[in-house]
Protein backbone atom coordinates (compact mmCIF):
# COMPACT_ATOMS: atom_id res chain seq x y z
CA UNK A 1 0.00 0.00 0.00
CA UNK A 2 1.49 3.29 -1.02
CA UNK A 3 0.36 6.53 0.58
CA UNK A 4 0.29 8.29 -2.78
CA UNK A 5 -3.15 8.15 -4.43
CA UNK A 6 -2.86 8.69 -8.19
CA UNK A 7 -4.77 11.70 -9.50
CA UNK A 8 -7.41 11.47 -12.23
CA UNK A 9 -4.95 12.58 -14.91
CA UNK A 10 -2.37 10.03 -13.78
CA UNK A 11 -4.99 7.28 -13.86
CA UNK A 12 -5.97 8.33 -17.38
CA UNK A 13 -2.37 8.10 -18.61
CA UNK A 14 -1.71 4.87 -16.71
CA UNK A 15 -4.46 3.10 -18.62
CA UNK A 16 -3.09 3.90 -22.07
CA UNK A 17 0.40 2.37 -22.14
CA UNK A 18 1.84 1.46 -18.70
CA UNK A 19 -1.21 -0.53 -17.61
CA UNK A 20 -2.51 -1.36 -21.09
CA UNK A 21 -5.37 -3.83 -20.62
CA UNK A 22 -4.26 -6.13 -23.45
CA UNK A 23 -0.48 -6.03 -23.49
CA UNK A 24 0.23 -5.57 -19.80
CA UNK A 25 -2.76 -7.12 -18.01
CA UNK A 26 -3.88 -9.74 -20.59
CA UNK A 27 -7.55 -8.91 -20.01
CA UNK A 28 -10.42 -8.91 -22.48
CA UNK A 29 -8.75 -11.23 -24.95
CA UNK A 30 -11.87 -12.72 -26.56
CA UNK A 31 -12.93 -9.59 -28.50
CA UNK A 32 -9.28 -8.75 -29.11
CA UNK A 33 -8.81 -11.94 -31.05
CA UNK A 34 -12.25 -12.20 -32.60
CA UNK A 35 -12.92 -8.80 -34.15
CA UNK A 36 -9.45 -7.69 -35.24
CA UNK A 37 -9.58 -9.08 -38.77
CA UNK A 38 -10.35 -5.60 -40.05
CA UNK A 39 -9.90 -2.04 -38.80
CA UNK A 40 -13.59 -1.11 -39.17
CA UNK A 41 -14.81 -3.98 -37.00
CA UNK A 42 -12.04 -3.39 -34.45
CA UNK A 43 -12.81 0.31 -34.10
CA UNK A 44 -16.57 -0.30 -33.78
CA UNK A 45 -15.81 -2.81 -31.05
CA UNK A 46 -13.48 -0.36 -29.31
CA UNK A 47 -16.18 2.33 -29.45
CA UNK A 48 -18.87 0.06 -28.05
CA UNK A 49 -16.58 -1.16 -25.27
CA UNK A 50 -15.57 2.42 -24.42
CA UNK A 51 -19.22 3.46 -24.17
CA UNK A 52 -20.08 0.57 -21.86
CA UNK A 53 -16.93 0.94 -19.77
CA UNK A 54 -17.33 4.68 -19.19
CA UNK A 55 -21.09 4.52 -18.47
CA UNK A 56 -20.74 1.51 -16.16
CA UNK A 57 -17.81 3.14 -14.32
CA UNK A 58 -19.71 6.36 -13.77
CA UNK A 59 -22.78 4.51 -12.54
CA UNK A 60 -20.91 2.18 -10.18
CA UNK A 61 -19.04 5.18 -8.84
CA UNK A 62 -22.34 6.97 -8.17
CA UNK A 63 -23.85 4.00 -6.31
CA UNK A 64 -20.64 2.94 -4.53
CA UNK A 65 -22.06 3.90 -1.12
CA UNK A 66 -24.97 1.48 -1.53
CA UNK A 67 -22.98 -1.58 -2.63
CA UNK A 68 -22.99 -4.62 -0.36
CA UNK A 69 -19.70 -6.53 -0.56
CA UNK A 70 -21.20 -9.95 -1.34
CA UNK A 71 -23.54 -8.61 -4.04
CA UNK A 72 -21.18 -6.21 -5.76
CA UNK A 73 -20.10 -8.49 -8.63
CA UNK A 74 -23.73 -9.21 -9.45
CA UNK A 75 -24.56 -5.50 -9.42
CA UNK A 76 -21.59 -4.77 -11.69
CA UNK A 77 -22.58 -7.41 -14.23
CA UNK A 78 -26.23 -6.33 -14.28
CA UNK A 79 -25.20 -2.68 -14.77
CA UNK A 80 -22.89 -3.69 -17.59
CA UNK A 81 -25.56 -5.90 -19.17
CA UNK A 82 -28.00 -2.99 -19.25
CA UNK A 83 -25.51 -0.71 -21.04
CA UNK A 84 -24.52 -3.49 -23.43
CA UNK A 85 -28.17 -3.91 -24.38
CA UNK A 86 -28.29 -0.19 -25.21
CA UNK A 87 -25.13 -0.40 -27.32
CA UNK A 88 -26.38 -3.54 -29.08
CA UNK A 89 -29.74 -1.98 -29.99
CA UNK A 90 -28.00 1.20 -31.15
CA UNK A 91 -25.69 -0.74 -33.47
CA UNK A 92 -28.56 -2.84 -34.80
CA UNK A 93 -30.52 0.33 -35.57
CA UNK A 94 -27.83 2.52 -37.13
CA UNK A 95 -25.04 0.20 -38.31
CA UNK A 96 -26.92 -2.95 -39.24
CA UNK A 97 -24.24 -4.57 -41.44
CA UNK A 98 -21.58 -4.02 -38.78
CA UNK A 99 -23.83 -5.36 -36.06
CA UNK A 100 -24.40 -8.52 -38.14
CA UNK A 101 -20.67 -8.90 -38.68
CA UNK A 102 -19.79 -8.52 -35.00
CA UNK A 103 -22.58 -10.93 -34.10
CA UNK A 104 -22.28 -12.43 -30.62
CA UNK A 105 -19.21 -10.39 -29.71
CA UNK A 106 -21.25 -7.28 -28.88
CA UNK A 107 -23.27 -9.07 -26.14
CA UNK A 108 -20.04 -10.75 -25.04
CA UNK A 109 -18.82 -7.30 -23.89
CA UNK A 110 -20.79 -8.13 -20.72
CA UNK A 111 -18.21 -10.71 -19.70
CA UNK A 112 -15.23 -8.63 -20.83
CA UNK A 113 -12.94 -8.83 -17.80
CA UNK A 114 -11.57 -5.31 -18.44
CA UNK A 115 -14.86 -3.70 -17.44
CA UNK A 116 -15.43 -5.79 -14.32
CA UNK A 117 -11.83 -5.29 -13.21
CA UNK A 118 -12.13 -1.48 -13.57
CA UNK A 119 -15.42 -1.51 -11.61
CA UNK A 120 -13.82 -3.62 -8.89
CA UNK A 121 -10.43 -1.91 -8.70
CA UNK A 122 -11.27 1.73 -9.35
CA UNK A 123 -14.77 3.03 -9.83
CA UNK A 124 -16.41 1.33 -6.83
CA UNK A 125 -13.88 3.12 -4.61
CA UNK A 126 -13.36 6.50 -6.31
CA UNK A 127 -15.36 9.61 -7.16
CA UNK A 128 -17.19 10.07 -10.43
CA UNK A 129 -14.58 12.22 -12.14
CA UNK A 130 -11.67 9.93 -11.25
CA UNK A 131 -13.65 6.87 -12.32
CA UNK A 132 -14.53 8.44 -15.67
CA UNK A 133 -10.92 9.46 -16.31
CA UNK A 134 -9.70 5.98 -15.45
CA UNK A 135 -12.30 4.37 -17.70
CA UNK A 136 -11.40 6.77 -20.53
CA UNK A 137 -7.71 5.92 -20.28
CA UNK A 138 -8.34 2.18 -20.23
CA UNK A 139 -10.73 2.48 -23.21
CA UNK A 140 -8.09 4.39 -25.14
CA UNK A 141 -5.48 1.75 -24.29
CA UNK A 142 -7.88 -0.97 -25.40
CA UNK A 143 -8.60 0.86 -28.67
CA UNK A 144 -4.86 1.29 -29.34
CA UNK A 145 -4.21 -2.39 -28.72
CA UNK A 146 -7.08 -3.44 -30.99
CA UNK A 147 -5.85 -1.03 -33.68
CA UNK A 148 -2.30 -2.43 -33.55
CA UNK A 149 -3.47 -6.03 -33.98
CA UNK A 150 -6.09 -5.17 -36.62
CA UNK A 151 -3.54 -3.15 -38.63
CA UNK A 152 -1.17 -6.09 -38.88
CA UNK A 153 -3.90 -8.59 -39.66
CA UNK A 154 -5.80 -6.51 -42.22
CA UNK A 155 -2.72 -5.33 -44.12
CA UNK A 156 -1.12 -8.77 -44.29
CA UNK A 157 -4.34 -10.72 -44.72
CA UNK A 158 -6.37 -8.59 -47.10
CA UNK A 159 -3.88 -5.99 -48.34
CA UNK A 160 -6.14 -3.17 -47.14
CA UNK A 161 -6.43 -0.77 -44.19
CA UNK A 162 -9.90 0.51 -43.26
CA UNK A 163 -10.98 -1.08 -46.56
CA UNK A 164 -8.51 0.99 -48.62
CA UNK A 165 -5.90 -0.85 -50.69
CA UNK A 166 -2.42 -0.22 -49.28
CA UNK A 167 -0.40 -3.17 -50.51
CA UNK A 168 0.69 -3.39 -54.20
CA UNK A 169 -1.58 -5.44 -56.43
CA UNK A 170 0.96 -8.27 -56.65
CA UNK A 171 0.70 -8.86 -52.87
CA UNK A 172 -0.63 -12.39 -52.34
CA UNK A 173 -3.10 -11.94 -49.49
CA UNK A 174 -2.11 -14.08 -46.52
CA UNK A 175 -5.63 -15.33 -45.99
CA UNK A 176 -4.63 -17.18 -42.83
CA UNK A 177 -4.05 -13.83 -41.11
CA UNK A 178 -7.75 -12.91 -41.25
CA UNK A 179 -8.76 -16.43 -40.19
CA UNK A 180 -8.68 -17.52 -36.52
CA UNK A 181 -5.07 -18.86 -36.47
CA UNK A 182 -3.75 -15.49 -37.64
CA UNK A 183 -5.28 -13.83 -34.60
CA UNK A 184 -3.38 -16.06 -32.20
CA UNK A 185 -0.09 -15.77 -34.12
CA UNK A 186 -0.31 -11.96 -34.42
CA UNK A 187 -1.15 -11.44 -30.76
CA UNK A 188 1.63 -13.82 -29.67
CA UNK A 189 4.26 -12.06 -31.74
CA UNK A 190 3.05 -8.56 -30.79
CA UNK A 191 3.13 -9.53 -27.10
CA UNK A 192 6.71 -10.70 -27.57
CA UNK A 193 7.54 -7.41 -29.29
CA UNK A 194 5.94 -5.37 -26.51
CA UNK A 195 7.93 -7.27 -23.87
CA UNK A 196 11.10 -6.76 -25.85
CA UNK A 197 10.58 -2.98 -26.14
CA UNK A 198 9.79 -2.71 -22.45
CA UNK A 199 12.87 -4.71 -21.46
CA UNK A 200 15.07 -2.57 -23.72
CA UNK A 201 13.70 0.65 -22.21
CA UNK A 202 14.17 -0.58 -18.68
CA UNK A 203 17.74 -1.58 -19.44
CA UNK A 204 18.47 1.86 -20.89
CA UNK A 205 16.91 3.56 -17.86
CA UNK A 206 18.99 1.35 -15.53
CA UNK A 207 22.16 2.22 -17.46
CA UNK A 208 21.52 5.97 -17.29
CA UNK A 209 20.83 5.75 -13.57
CA UNK A 210 24.10 3.87 -12.98
CA UNK A 211 26.11 6.49 -14.92
Amino acid sequence: MSAHQPTAAERFLQGIIPENPIYRQLLGLCPTLAVTNGMRAAMTMAGATAFVLICASVLTSLIRGLLKPHLRILVFTLTIAAFVTIADRFLAAYMYAMSKQLGPYIPLIIVNCIIISRCEVCSSKQGVFTAAADAGGVSLGFALALASIATVREILGAGTWFGLRVMPAVWPDWVVMVLPPGAFLTLGLLLGGANWIRAAREKRRGASRAA
Binding site: L26, L27, L29, C30, L33, A34, I73, L74, T77, L78, A81, A82, V84, T85, D88, R89, P104, P107, L108, I110, V111, N112, C113, I116, V176, L179, P180, P181, G182, A183, F184, L185, L187, G188, L189, L191, G192, G193, N195, W196, A199
Partner: protein
Protein backbone atom coordinates in the same frame (compact mmCIF):
# COMPACT_ATOMS: atom_id res chain seq x y z
CA UNK B 1 -32.43 -41.35 -38.19
CA UNK B 2 -32.68 -37.71 -39.17
CA UNK B 3 -33.25 -36.85 -35.55
CA UNK B 4 -29.99 -38.45 -34.42
CA UNK B 5 -28.19 -37.30 -37.54
CA UNK B 6 -28.93 -33.63 -36.88
CA UNK B 7 -27.74 -34.02 -33.29
CA UNK B 8 -24.49 -35.64 -34.46
CA UNK B 9 -23.97 -32.72 -36.83
CA UNK B 10 -24.48 -30.19 -34.04
CA UNK B 11 -22.11 -32.16 -31.79
CA UNK B 12 -19.31 -32.42 -34.34
CA UNK B 13 -19.77 -28.78 -35.31
CA UNK B 14 -19.56 -27.52 -31.75
CA UNK B 15 -16.68 -29.76 -30.68
CA UNK B 16 -14.34 -29.88 -33.65
CA UNK B 17 -15.21 -27.66 -36.61
CA UNK B 18 -16.25 -24.51 -34.78
CA UNK B 19 -14.38 -25.19 -31.55
CA UNK B 20 -15.35 -22.60 -28.93
CA UNK B 21 -11.78 -21.63 -28.13
CA UNK B 22 -9.96 -22.08 -31.39
CA UNK B 23 -12.64 -20.80 -33.76
CA UNK B 24 -14.86 -18.42 -31.79
CA UNK B 25 -12.20 -17.27 -29.26
CA UNK B 26 -14.49 -17.60 -26.26
CA UNK B 27 -13.06 -18.84 -22.98
CA UNK B 28 -9.57 -17.58 -23.81
CA UNK B 29 -8.85 -16.42 -20.24
CA UNK B 30 -8.94 -19.93 -18.65
CA UNK B 31 -7.39 -21.35 -21.82
CA UNK B 32 -4.31 -19.20 -21.24
CA UNK B 33 -4.48 -19.02 -17.43
CA UNK B 34 -5.21 -22.60 -16.32
CA UNK B 35 -3.41 -24.56 -19.03
CA UNK B 36 -0.10 -25.00 -17.22
CA UNK B 37 -0.73 -28.58 -16.02
CA UNK B 38 -2.81 -31.31 -17.61
CA UNK B 39 -4.75 -32.31 -14.47
CA UNK B 40 -5.74 -28.70 -13.69
CA UNK B 41 -6.73 -28.15 -17.30
CA UNK B 42 -8.88 -31.29 -17.24
CA UNK B 43 -10.62 -30.15 -14.04
CA UNK B 44 -11.28 -26.72 -15.52
CA UNK B 45 -12.63 -28.28 -18.71
CA UNK B 46 -15.02 -30.54 -16.83
CA UNK B 47 -16.20 -27.68 -14.60
CA UNK B 48 -16.94 -25.56 -17.67
CA UNK B 49 -18.75 -28.45 -19.39
CA UNK B 50 -20.88 -28.99 -16.30
CA UNK B 51 -21.84 -25.33 -15.85
CA UNK B 52 -22.36 -24.74 -19.57
CA UNK B 53 -24.88 -27.63 -19.72
CA UNK B 54 -26.83 -26.31 -16.74
CA UNK B 55 -26.80 -22.76 -18.12
CA UNK B 56 -27.96 -24.07 -21.52
CA UNK B 57 -30.85 -25.94 -19.92
CA UNK B 58 -31.99 -22.84 -18.02
CA UNK B 59 -31.43 -20.36 -20.82
CA UNK B 60 -33.26 -22.59 -23.30
CA UNK B 61 -36.24 -22.74 -20.95
CA UNK B 62 -36.23 -18.98 -20.37
CA UNK B 63 -35.86 -18.23 -24.07
CA UNK B 64 -38.47 -20.72 -25.22
CA UNK B 65 -41.17 -19.90 -22.70
CA UNK B 66 -40.53 -16.24 -21.91
CA UNK B 67 -38.15 -14.33 -24.15
CA UNK B 68 -38.74 -15.27 -27.77
CA UNK B 69 -41.36 -13.37 -29.78
CA UNK B 70 -44.83 -14.68 -28.90
CA UNK B 71 -43.47 -16.91 -26.14
CA UNK B 72 -46.31 -18.75 -24.33
CA UNK B 73 -45.65 -17.42 -20.80
CA UNK B 74 -45.22 -13.82 -21.93
CA UNK B 75 -48.41 -14.02 -24.02
CA UNK B 76 -50.32 -15.45 -21.04
CA UNK B 77 -49.18 -12.58 -18.79
CA UNK B 78 -50.03 -9.97 -21.42
CA UNK B 79 -53.49 -11.49 -21.96
CA UNK B 80 -54.14 -11.57 -18.23
CA UNK B 81 -53.17 -7.91 -17.75
CA UNK B 82 -55.02 -6.51 -20.74
CA UNK B 83 -56.84 -8.86 -23.11
CA UNK B 84 -56.07 -8.44 -26.78
CA UNK B 85 -52.67 -6.77 -26.28
CA UNK B 86 -50.59 -9.90 -26.89
CA UNK B 87 -50.32 -9.50 -30.67
CA UNK B 88 -46.60 -8.83 -30.75
CA UNK B 89 -45.07 -9.58 -27.40
CA UNK B 90 -41.28 -9.62 -27.66
CA UNK B 91 -39.20 -9.63 -24.51
CA UNK B 92 -35.92 -10.50 -26.22
CA UNK B 93 -34.50 -7.08 -25.28
CA UNK B 94 -34.21 -8.46 -21.73
CA UNK B 95 -32.29 -11.55 -22.79
CA UNK B 96 -28.75 -10.38 -21.94
CA UNK B 97 -29.70 -9.30 -18.43
CA UNK B 98 -31.61 -12.51 -17.79
CA UNK B 99 -28.81 -14.72 -19.12
CA UNK B 100 -26.16 -13.11 -16.99
CA UNK B 101 -28.43 -13.48 -13.98
CA UNK B 102 -29.07 -17.15 -14.79
CA UNK B 103 -25.36 -17.87 -15.22
CA UNK B 104 -24.26 -16.06 -12.06
CA UNK B 105 -26.92 -17.69 -9.91
CA UNK B 106 -26.51 -21.19 -11.34
CA UNK B 107 -22.77 -21.02 -10.70
CA UNK B 108 -23.51 -20.01 -7.10
CA UNK B 109 -25.96 -22.90 -6.63
CA UNK B 110 -23.69 -25.44 -8.28
CA UNK B 111 -20.86 -24.34 -6.03
CA UNK B 112 -22.98 -24.66 -2.89
CA UNK B 113 -24.39 -28.03 -3.96
CA UNK B 114 -21.01 -29.50 -4.82
CA UNK B 115 -19.45 -28.22 -1.58
CA UNK B 116 -22.23 -29.77 0.50
CA UNK B 117 -22.63 -33.15 -1.18
CA UNK B 118 -19.33 -33.85 -2.97
CA UNK B 119 -16.54 -32.40 -0.79
CA UNK B 120 -13.84 -34.36 -2.62
CA UNK B 121 -15.00 -33.05 -6.00
CA UNK B 122 -15.21 -29.55 -4.54
CA UNK B 123 -11.57 -29.79 -3.44
CA UNK B 124 -10.49 -30.75 -6.93
CA UNK B 125 -12.38 -28.24 -9.04
CA UNK B 126 -14.23 -25.99 -6.63
CA UNK B 127 -11.69 -23.22 -6.96
CA UNK B 128 -12.50 -22.85 -10.64
CA UNK B 129 -16.22 -22.46 -10.19
CA UNK B 130 -16.39 -18.75 -9.21
CA UNK B 131 -14.05 -17.95 -12.09
CA UNK B 132 -16.49 -19.48 -14.53
CA UNK B 133 -19.13 -16.76 -13.95
CA UNK B 134 -17.19 -14.41 -16.16
CA UNK B 135 -16.24 -17.09 -18.65
CA UNK B 136 -17.48 -15.95 -22.02
CA UNK B 137 -17.95 -19.54 -23.28
CA UNK B 138 -21.03 -19.92 -21.09
CA UNK B 139 -22.67 -16.70 -22.25
CA UNK B 140 -21.69 -17.54 -25.80
CA UNK B 141 -23.56 -20.86 -25.62
CA UNK B 142 -26.63 -19.02 -24.28
CA UNK B 143 -26.42 -16.51 -27.14
CA UNK B 144 -26.18 -19.29 -29.73
CA UNK B 145 -29.31 -20.82 -28.23
CA UNK B 146 -31.03 -17.41 -28.31
CA UNK B 147 -30.18 -17.11 -31.98
CA UNK B 148 -31.59 -20.56 -32.77
CA UNK B 149 -34.72 -20.17 -30.64
CA UNK B 150 -35.73 -16.50 -30.92
CA UNK B 151 -34.30 -15.70 -34.33
CA UNK B 152 -35.28 -18.83 -36.24
CA UNK B 153 -38.28 -19.58 -38.42
CA UNK B 154 -41.05 -21.40 -36.49
CA UNK B 155 -40.27 -24.76 -38.11
CA UNK B 156 -36.55 -24.53 -37.26
CA UNK B 157 -36.81 -23.51 -33.61
CA UNK B 158 -34.39 -25.58 -31.57
CA UNK B 159 -35.72 -28.01 -28.99
CA UNK B 160 -34.12 -28.74 -25.67
CA UNK B 161 -32.22 -31.75 -27.02
CA UNK B 162 -30.46 -29.63 -29.63
CA UNK B 163 -29.58 -26.89 -27.15
CA UNK B 164 -28.16 -29.43 -24.68
CA UNK B 165 -26.15 -31.18 -27.40
CA UNK B 166 -24.59 -27.88 -28.43
CA UNK B 167 -23.68 -27.00 -24.84
CA UNK B 168 -22.37 -30.42 -23.85
CA UNK B 169 -20.20 -30.90 -26.90
CA UNK B 170 -19.10 -27.28 -26.92
CA UNK B 171 -17.89 -27.85 -23.36
CA UNK B 172 -16.17 -31.08 -24.34
CA UNK B 173 -14.51 -29.26 -27.24
CA UNK B 174 -13.25 -26.67 -24.74
CA UNK B 175 -11.92 -29.52 -22.56
CA UNK B 176 -10.19 -31.07 -25.56
CA UNK B 177 -8.55 -27.79 -26.55
CA UNK B 178 -7.38 -26.87 -23.04
CA UNK B 179 -6.00 -30.38 -22.32
CA UNK B 180 -4.11 -30.40 -25.64
CA UNK B 181 -2.74 -26.98 -24.79
CA UNK B 182 -1.66 -28.08 -21.31
CA UNK B 183 0.07 -31.15 -22.73
CA UNK B 184 2.04 -28.96 -25.13
CA UNK B 185 2.90 -26.43 -22.44
CA UNK B 186 4.26 -29.13 -20.12
CA UNK B 187 6.69 -30.07 -22.89
CA UNK B 188 7.47 -26.41 -23.61
CA UNK B 189 8.99 -26.12 -20.14
CA UNK B 190 12.01 -27.97 -21.53
CA UNK B 191 12.22 -25.94 -24.73
CA UNK B 192 14.51 -22.97 -25.30
CA UNK B 193 11.96 -20.22 -25.93
CA UNK B 194 13.19 -16.68 -26.74
CA UNK B 195 13.11 -14.80 -23.45
CA UNK B 196 10.53 -12.15 -24.44
CA UNK B 197 8.08 -14.70 -25.81
CA UNK B 198 8.03 -16.75 -22.60
CA UNK B 199 4.68 -17.00 -20.88
CA UNK B 200 1.71 -15.62 -22.80
CA UNK B 201 3.51 -14.93 -26.10
CA UNK B 202 4.53 -18.50 -26.90
CA UNK B 203 1.19 -19.77 -25.61
CA UNK B 204 -0.65 -17.69 -28.20
CA UNK B 205 1.65 -18.85 -30.97
CA UNK B 206 1.10 -22.49 -29.99
CA UNK B 207 -2.66 -21.81 -29.88
CA UNK B 208 -2.41 -20.39 -33.40
CA UNK B 209 -0.79 -23.61 -34.63
CA UNK B 210 -3.47 -25.65 -32.83
CA UNK B 211 -6.14 -23.51 -34.52
CA UNK B 212 -4.48 -24.20 -37.88
CA UNK B 213 -4.69 -27.91 -37.15
CA UNK B 214 -8.37 -27.63 -36.22
CA UNK B 215 -9.02 -25.83 -39.52
CA UNK B 216 -8.48 -29.26 -41.05
CA UNK B 217 -11.95 -30.21 -39.82
CA UNK B 218 -13.56 -27.59 -42.08
CA UNK B 219 -15.98 -29.26 -44.46
CA UNK B 220 -16.33 -32.44 -42.44
CA UNK B 221 -19.88 -31.36 -41.62
CA UNK B 222 -20.90 -31.29 -45.28
CA UNK B 223 -19.80 -34.84 -45.99
CA UNK B 224 -21.25 -36.01 -42.66
CA UNK B 225 -24.55 -34.38 -43.57
CA UNK B 226 -24.51 -36.16 -46.90
CA UNK B 227 -24.13 -39.48 -45.12
CA UNK B 228 -26.45 -38.90 -42.17
CA UNK B 229 -29.33 -36.90 -43.64
CA UNK B 230 -30.10 -38.84 -46.79
Amino acid sequence: MDWIGSLVLIAVGAMLINNFVLYYFVGICPFIGVSRRVDMAFGMGLAVTFVISIAALLSWAFTYFLLRPNAPLAVAVWEAVSPGSAANVDLSILSYIIYIFVIASSVQFVEMYVRKFFPALYKSFGIFLPLITTNCAILFACLEILKRVAGAKPAEVWGLHQALTLALFGGLGFTLAIVLMAGIREELDFADVPVHLRGAGITFIVAGILALAFMGFTGVDRSLAAVLLR
